[in-house]
Amino acid sequence: MSFDINQIRADFPNLRQEVHGKPLVYLDNAATTHKPQAVIDAVSRFYGEYNANVHRALYQHAAEATEAYEAVRDKVANLINAGDRRSIVFTGGTTESINLVAYAWARKNLGPGDEILVTEMEHHSNLVPWQLVARDTGATLRCIPIKTDGTLDLDDSDKYFTSRTKLVAFTHQSNVFGTINPAKEIIELAHAVGAVTVVDAAQSVPHLPVDVTDLDCDFLAFSGHKMLGPTGVGVLYGKPELLESMSPFFGGGEMIQTVTMEKSTWNELPWKFEAGTPKIAQVIGLGAAIDYLNEIGYEAIGEYEKKLTDYTLERLAAVEGMSIHGQAAKRGPVISFNLADVHPHDLAQFLDMEGVAIRAGHHCAQPIMQRLGVPATSRASMYIYNTSEEIDRLVQSIENTRRFMTGN
């Protein structure tokens, strides 16, 4: 399918909304994306036509629901080239996926003297769980620093990847700088010292083809709501032999095989990690989102987003007093910036009045703010439905605000 922006925009009902009397320009896609009608319909068809719990009952709708739910596992496995459907666990989102690894793997396998390696550009959800693991196990948390251009400083990798390194957790694409990290290289460095790798792919799977077999990562996490799908569903990919070796995280229904009053035996992968009634509607919605993305194709998405990102960078750079954070050569459509003498908060408030939704704040990455020496940044993040006309409105609104706030 060719990339038809008008057709794509027509598929998203939310893009037809007005805000303060102006057509919405939605540029907070790194936080969450809008949903195409196909996703909304898939969720509402489940509830309206074949709502039932999965895996348990023998009647028609239960079978349909189970089939629809499990079919999405295959779609996800194909999407990230996982080979084995048993390696795909549905969770509540990236945060839950990472915490699952932190509880069910790291707490069981780490101890004093061991090191957990993260990077300075992590989202809090790929940092705080490891701080907690370090606190509980006596392991040490270490960090690969970032350079001023918003890329990782891997020059002295020997310093960070040592025989003590047991787990390396890093973001595939930064939600602040847009930087795409050299995931394969980091994973090779980690494996060379025998460490297990956790990839936070919350910002990459929506934009890039991600291939877990090629990456050879041990765990990888992402969220449905940042890739056109519903909130409340995410994925944990884990190598089957690792997942096999782990004890369950949550106990309850579904994840067991036999239960006596004294003890239980676990269900097979991946259900061992899916206790209780799963996120049925959300998973089905995620399946529709994957279909939608596949129909456009990652290649077309990447090309379109690159053009739009280049255009946005160029237009923003021409604004007086503008500093843009991050100049990575390989980047996604996420741009953080500060405008001299205008606090991000004030800027976002004025932009809202013009119908332009951007984000102002620390983007759940307070260490980056400390590193940049700013209290907060503004962030514009694009997706497949944004246009250069929308970027023009963003820039015009920024100009208007700058003139008003600085008086010149």
Binding site: H345, D346, Q349, F350, A360, G361, P375, F404, M405
Partner: protein, 149 residues
């Protein structure tokens, strides 16, 4: 848009570009940090409190126009007030910021911030310096961090 411009016009002209009492206070016997992590507003307040009277007050830090203006105006109002008076003003200010209702005799210059109630996400910005002051007045410890989260 015009309402927002009006609100900012008053704030910016008044205080956020040229904040009053924007300095470190060497004589301070109380300091308190106020932090609004969500937005990155961060202020340090300095106060000299003697015999239950706020003899002097100043601040440093960075924040949005609303938090800066609110802090600046607050320092000009609180200088010379008793601790009890400061608390009473805080209660009325908080009511005004949340509802937009106020008595102009009581609020004086603070009334320029009344429009903030229309922007619920910003109420925290306006109220941060007040929470910080009240918190530090409550405790004998002379160093406090107040966070809105």
């Amino acid at each position: 848009m015009d309402e927002l411009r009006e609100l900012y016009q008053a704030l910016i002209l008044d205080h956020s570009q040229h904040p009053h009492n924007f300095k470190v206070l060497d004589s301070a016997n109380r300091t308190a940090d106020g932090h609004n992590p969500l937005c990155g507003d961060q202020i340090t307040l300095y106060m000299t409190v003697e015999n239950e009277i706020i003899k002097d007050i100043s601040f440093q830090g960075q924040g949005c126009a609303i938090s800066k203006a609110s802090t600046s105006i607050m320092t000009t109002i609180l200088k010379g007030k008793t601790v009890a008076e400061a608390r009473a003003i805080f209660d009325k200010f908080q009511h005004m910021i949340k509802t937009g209702e106020y008595d102009s005799n009581e609020m004086g210059k603070l009334a320029v911030l009344a429009g903030v109630h229309k922007y619920p996400a910003r109420v925290k910005c306006a109220i941060l310096p007040w929470h910080t002051v009240v918190k530090s007045l409550q405790t004998d410890d002379n160093s406090e961090i107040f966070s809105t989260e």
